[in-house]
Symmetry: none
Subunit: 163 residues, 2 copies
């Protein structure tokens, strides 16, 4: 029986999430140094929080600029509240998926207007690139490539938080 552990990372994550909620626009600008000061940590801790919590896989985009007037902007592209749909898609993809199956799935999603033709194109290029690398560069077994394809596909689809 343990209380919800609250690591610094988690606290900062919640802080940023709250700012996002308040802002309505789905984006918020931050100063890395100020944040670090507020939470009494080193600035690079902020990078860790962003990398581990506000990653594109989770539906976030991060923009930043160094130097004078530097900033970090966190953008929430999608609201990952439609867990059901995500679970459903993850189910559809499964642990492993062949190239044909994935193509069929993507065609289907496009027909249902869940993704646009251009989005489908990007996804197919990404999958094919990984396939190519796996085959000719790293000598990955076909089954393992199916596993990796499923991983990538799920990451992409859940990032879009389709609903």
């Amino acid at each position: 029986m343990s209380l919800p552990s609250s690591s610094l990372t988690q606290i900062i994550e919640e802080y940023i999430a709250q700012l996002l909620e308040e802002n309505e626009v789905g984006e918020v600008s931050l100063r890395r140094k100020d944040l670090a000061e507020r939470f009494g940590c080193v600035p690079s801790q902020i990078n860790y929080v962003l990398r581990s919590r506000f990653a594109p896989e989770n539906g976030f985009l991060v923009e930043s600029q160094r130097g004078g007037h530097g900033y970090i902007k966190v953008i929430q592209l999608t609201f990952n509240n439609c867990d059901e749909e995500v679970v459903h898609l993850a189910d559809l993809v499964g642990n492993a998926i062949t190239e044909q199956e994935s193509r069929k799935l993507l065609v289907n999603l496009q027909n249902r207007d869940v993704i646009s033709p251009r989005e489908r194109l990007i996804i197919e290029v990404a999958l094919r690139s990984q396939e190519e690398n796996g085959r000719s560069l790293f000598d990955i077994s076909p089954y393992r490539r199916d596993l990796m394809r499923a991983e990538l596909l799920k990451k992409i689809l859940t990032s879009l938080a389709l609903g």
Copy 2:
């Protein structure tokens, strides 16, 4: 906690962008000295804005003339066909590209409406996935990962431009 203040550079950038919008022709002529006076800065600040914001990689050309009746002309460039755009994009990416650089490029392309936010998200997920695999699964050197990142990015962008 202070919000990031907008920089002089950004203010001048927006001013010029607005002039471009108003002019409809996709170009505008400026006086460096007048601009500097208007914004209370040294003239070379204008060069900085032009170099950092209206560079070819941002889709602009700048012409100028010194001496009496000198001027600076900012021209917004457009592509006549897909191939031109593909070449342009491939150029921007280059042979190798860091994570930072790629992120900046994608922000830029989104601002120019070459890609949508969702498309950017998918691309970032794909890049990040490859990065992760390269680092922790296959132990690829940082530079080689930059090469692979450039490859993938070019594949995706050219597929979009051609599609």
